[in-house]
């Protein structure tokens, strides 16, 4: 019986609406020269999702959150320069054994491996060998090459013989592959492009992986692997079909969530805390819900409604649970789970995700708000503008004096920085933004006063003045750096590296302009990038020669 490893196909509602079928052949005029292929470490989420997609949700996977490396504003870029720390590798190896044991145990082998006995008590070894090959294809995201397959079969044979159990052999092989760098890293390979003399392209399987992780944050499914094997991914029609298929799938939501979780720096929640004495309604559980609130709001605007990206800063709609309602002091009618909440016309909360705990709280101090941190976060995360670090010899005495001299509001405290030239230069580009959000405390609850004094929420963003956070949201909506930043981030995320100068130029003229023309809709942006030659063409440099983290594979193995 052929093995029945299957990729997850959730019965979700397929996204409605026609996708943009833009004319998007291969290299357009003006597209930049290719960048290098990259090798990226699987994130913890991708690691777990890969195993669940291949072997089913019944297989328990232990995650191992790793120290992340953020470059060019994205973990997706930093992961190309990150190895796996030894302690995490140990956990990965241990988890590989646990997963392999589950897949081959009596409860799961029938449904996952699906090899019938050739005779009572006699396993179908040919079938089991085929299972190893099939599993390896999904795990490595490409067929095993002959040497790899031979090594795995030899390993399985040795284990099966020593343990007198053919399934022990399968278990040993699976454990080996689950701990191998070919699984733990997304390893891109280049090949000469036969259609463009002297140029290189990603090979078909690397294309499949890059596309799938970009749009689904997951390894390629069976359809995509088949398209790679058949050569379809090297044809314009075949590539476009896969791009459209992935964009139309409900799984696009996973990819979009993963992108924004990265861009909005949700990994910072790992070290996030609030002063419990001041904010007893805050907890780690609520922090998880706060991230979910923002991701639901984003996917609602960008996917479900196929809306304008800039609406994320002005929308009056969000999603709340009873716990978040208690944190924000907002009424929530649903006793459990999530409910949509619409703020009324003129409500001060109507600045979209800017006033979510995931932004306004994540960039505050544990016990008080911080206009500076909020302004800096807005500049760096949403406008892609670097705010210089404070000088090492900064003198806080004026600020501390102001904080204890009876001033009541953050605006009054921060005024001390304006008198220090070394401070003023940066604070003038952050504080006028952050002060507009001062009517929301460090967990995002609205307040009109601080220490009894009325809060003045006036501010400005690059010369555009406003009187409160709603005005800031509108200023963001109208700021040309907002769509520009998003376009750059999405492309970097897709290709896994920082932008080159020619890429920036091309993105500005060729992608951002289209994004604006298409009313800032996110799905067409994804389609534009995925369909570009820049997404799949690479330089000759091959990652095989890159140094990888040493892996103690279980019994033999290969590199």
């Amino acid at each position: 019986m052929k093995s029945v490893i299957r990729m997850r196909r959730p019965a979700w509602m397929v996204l409605g609406g026609a996708l943009l079928l833009g004319a998007c052949g291969m290299k357009d005029a003006g597209e930049p020269e290719a960048g290098p292929p990259v090798m990226r470490r699987l994130t913890d989420e991708q690691y777990r999702r890969s195993i669940t997609d291949i072997f089913g949700a019944d297989i328990k996977v232990a995650g191992s959150p790793m120290p992340e490396n953020r470059e060019a504003g994205l973990l997706a870029v930093g992961s190309a320069n990150a190895s796996i720390p030894p302690s995490i590798l140990e956990q990965r190896i241990a988890n590989a054994r646990v997963v392999a044991a589950q897949v081959t145990d009596a409860a799961h082998r029938r449904t996952i491996i699906g090899c019938a006995e050739t005779a009572p008590g006699v396993a179908d070894e040919v079938c089991l060998e085929q299972f190893i090959a099939d599993a390896g294809r999904f795990l490595y995201r490409r067929p095993l090459d002959p040497a790899e397959l031979q090594a795995q079969l030899a390993l399985a044979d040795e284990a099966a013989t020593k343990l007198a159990d053919p399934y022990a052999g399968v278990e040993a092989s699976l454990a080996s592959m689950l701990a191998a760098p070919q699984f733990l890293f997304r390893w891109e390979h280049a090949e000469p492009d036969p259609e463009h003399d002297g140029a290189s392209r990603l090979n078909a399987f690397s294309k499949a992986s890059r596309l799938s992780f970009f749009l689904w944050d997951a390894a390629p499914d069976e359809d995509l692997l088949k398209a790679a094997e058949s050569g379809e991914l090297h044809t314009e029609t075949g590539w476009r079909h896969q791009v459209e298929r992935l964009l139309a799938s409900p799984r696009l939501q996973d990819g979009v969530r993963a992108f924004f979780a990265d861009m909005l720096k949700f990994d910072a929640f790992a070290g996030f805390s609030r002063d419990q004495a001041l904010f007893p309604n805050y907890s780690n559980f609520v922090a998880t819900e706060a991230q979910e609130q923002t991701l639901r709001t984003i996917t609602d605007v960008l996917l479900a409604r196929d809306g304008d990206y800039r609406d994320l800063f002005t929308t009056r709609s969000t999603f709340l649970t009873r716990h978040l309602g208690a944190l924000y002091d907002l009424p929530v009618t649903a006793p459990d789970g999530w409910t949509r909440h619409e703020f009324g016309e003129g409500d001060p909360h109507a600045a979209g995700i800017l006033l979510h705990l995931s932004f306004i709280g994540l960039h505050s101090h544990p016990g008080r708000s911080s206009p500076t941190l909020r302004g800096e976060a807005l500049r760096e995360i949403l406008l892609c503008q670097k705010v210089p670090d404070p000088p090492g010899d900064v003198d806080f005495s004026n600020f501390e004096a102001a904080a204890t001299s009876g001033v009541n509001t953050a605006r009054e405290r921060l005024a001390a920085h304006a008198s220090v030239p070394a401070c003023a230069g940066c604070h003038k580009i952050t504080d006028p933004i952050g002060l507009a959000m001062e009517q929301f405390d460090t967990v995002g609850k609205y307040r009109a006063r601080e220490n009894g004094a009325a809060i003045d929420a006036e501010g400005d963003l690059d010369g555009v003045a406003f009187t409160d956070a709603v005005g800031l949201g509108q200023a963001m909506r109208d700021n040309p750096a907002v769509p520009s930043c998003l376009v750059n981030r999405v492309y970097s995320y897709a290709v896994g590296r920082s932008l080159t100068a020619p890429e920036r130029d091309w993105l500005k003229r060729g992608v951002e302009a289209k994004f604006v023309e298409q009313k800032y809709r996110f799905i067409p942006l994804l389609e534009r990038i995925a369909s570009s030659a820049a997404f799949t063409n690479v330089t000759e440099r091959d990652t095989r020669s890159q140094t990888v983290a040493a892996v103690n594979t279980i019994g033999g193995g290969q590199q």
Binding site: P280, N281, Y282, H323, L327, T333, P335
Partner: protein, 377 residues
């Protein structure tokens, strides 16, 4: 500006209708609903001494009182003796006599003579002057200074300590923290809604609603009952207690009302509360909640019935003489005489009330407070 609001419920409710958008509406979730007692630290409120209480102390005292020899009492109270355990229980429960035959004393509390449970005779006690009279023995409220305070329910158990060696110690399993902890996540809460507030100092037209939640009590990260949690008001018609009021010099005066609530497993002694001539006196705390006193008359028989359901535990482990409790309730009942027997059927009560701010929501589109169906005697 600190807002101080004292609400005093004063007279009978009539029907009225308050538009939802008239004035400010504030919601609260009740965190404390305890019998309001003023316990003198050195027991001066129990000049006759404390009642025998404590684990097995009461049983030993009762057995000796029934005439059992000391040696027999020691045998019956031996914790290792199974037979003695059954005998002990039987001896205590069946100590009643009706026409000479043994009787279950919890079911028939008058099958034993009145043991004259000692009750509080203190000068101070929380509550309200419910009957409008200042009688000898009435309390003076230590906070409001009100004279003629009627709170006889509190008197009955005031001189029965949990720990005989430390008469004013609180049973840790019955502390407010433990009781609140037991409710979180498993039991609904009482809710208070104050609507139509235009001026917290003087407002001739406000409405107070006392409800029950559909949602369970929620905790915050510190383990306390969480503030600002959304709580749905149970639309069950039995628990819609709404009354009109007015604020004068920071004191809210409402028409007295009948308060009907389901009981709590810990907060309450009853399966349902049915207070008459209910009065409520609270003020806003700095944390935006409420704190004060609720008082009114309540039928006394259900209080006994509730205790009698766990009578063995009450006697053997808490040392509360159940027939004594019955006789005391009967003796101290102070309102609503039975037309045939003349025996008062209701007893005056006082309860501590504390509440935290909450977002109250309704499951139906109708968000209007109405005072229909609220009447007091």
């Amino acid at each position: 500006m600190k807002r101080t609001l004292a609400i005093v419920v004063a007279a009978l409710a009539g029907s009225m209708h308050v538009p939802a958008d008239a004035g400010e509406t504030r919601g609260f979730a009740v965190t404390v609903f305890d019998i309001a007692g003023y316990y003198y630290p050195n027991g001066e409120d129990c000049p006759q001494g404390f009642n025998v209480s404590g684990h097995y102390n009461f049983l030993r005292h009762k057995l000796l009182e029934l005439g059992y020899p000391k040696k027999e009492v020691d045998r019956l109270l031996d914790p290792d003796g199974n037979e003695a355990g059954d005998e002990l229980v039987d001896s205590i429960i069946q100590r009643g006599r009706i026409d000479g035959a043994r009787a279950n004393v919890y079911r028939h509390p008058q099958s034993v003579p009145d043991p004259h449970t000692k009750t509080s005779l203190g000068h101070y006690g929380y509550g309200f002057n419910l009957d409008g009279k200042v009688k000898p023995g009435d309390f003076v409220d230590p906070d409001s200074g009100e004279q003629g305070v009627d709170n006889n329910l509190y008197r009955i158990l005031a001189c029965t300590p949990y720990d005989p060696d430390n008469p004013r110690a609180i049973n840790p399993t019955q502390s407010r923290e433990e009781r609140n902890k037991a409710l979180r996540g498993v039991w609904p809460d009482y809710l208070i809604e104050i609507g139509g507030i235009d001026d917290y100092e003087n407002d001739a037209d406000v409405t107070v609603g006392y409800y029950v939640s559909l949602d369970f009590v929620a905790s915050d990260a510190t383990g306390r009952i969480a503030k600002q949690v959304s709580m749905r008001i149970d639309p069950d018609r039995r628990w819609q207690n709404v009354v009109h009021g007015s604020i004068k010099n920071g004191v809210l005066t409402t028409e007295p009302f009948e308060l009907n609530l389901p009981g709590h497993p810990y907060h309450a002694h009853l399966q349902t509360y049915n207070f008459k001539q209910t009065r409520l006196r609270v003020q806003f705390t700095d944390a935006g909640g409420l704190k004060g006193i609720l008082g009114g008359y309540h039928a006394w028989v259900p209080f006994y019935a509730t205790q009698a359901r766990k009578a063995w535990v009450q006697e053997a482990f808490m040392g509360v003489d159940l027939p004594g409790y019955y006789y005391a309730l009967q003796r101290l009942a102070d309102a609503s005489p039975d037309p045939k027997t003349g025996q008062n059927t209701m007893i005056s009560t006082g309860y501590f009330i504390e509440a935290v701010p909450a977002n109250l929501t309704r499951t139906s589109p109708d968000r209007v407070l109405s005072a229909s169906g609220s009447k007091a005697r």
